[in-house]
Symmetry: C2
Subunit: 106 residues, 2 copies
Amino acid sequence: MTPTIEQQHPATGEIQLTEVLAALSDPLRLEIVRRLDADGQERTCGSFDLPIAKSTATHHFRVLREAGLIASREEGTKKYNRIRRDDLDRRFPGLLDSILDQVDAQ
Amino acid sequence: MTPTIEQQHPATGEIQLTEVLAALSDPLRLEIVRRLDADGQERTCGSFDLPIAKSTATHHFRVLREAGLIASREEGTKKYNRIRRDDLDRRFPGLLDSILDQVDAQ
């Protein structure tokens, strides 16, 4: 059975460093995380206006969710996503800032 | 034609953030980099005593080389590898420390 969206979120203590790095190793996923972090609030998948097919976007959001980078909730036909900033900072202090700093500097 | 080992090393300014993250998203490659950084000197591929086939190890070292994380040189039948610490710190200040700190803390 396909896990429900709730089951796709690892607990903070179960977030794995190598999975976080893998999730952020794709330019589009890195950009999604950068924008969610800059916004600091929930955004729907559709609001990103990504230059890719909807099914591909769905895949990328799922990878981010399963790596522990974002939390998603369904409301009606939409998914709302936010960055798990506090969880990530607790699990890997300084890591996300360090990576996003490089993006901003480029 | 297969690129020579020299051609597999990107210049410092060409090292890409997403490629560095992808290279470090594998537990074995992360461990190789951690050990090379801790040692601070050249090591042969064989000296790591990795629990994998030689051809798999060769692949992992090549991924690290092409991402700009390590520099390798051939001498006789052996390859000597070192971490590109200075290049990485110049290109992405603080990034490698931030990632390796998480490994040490785990």
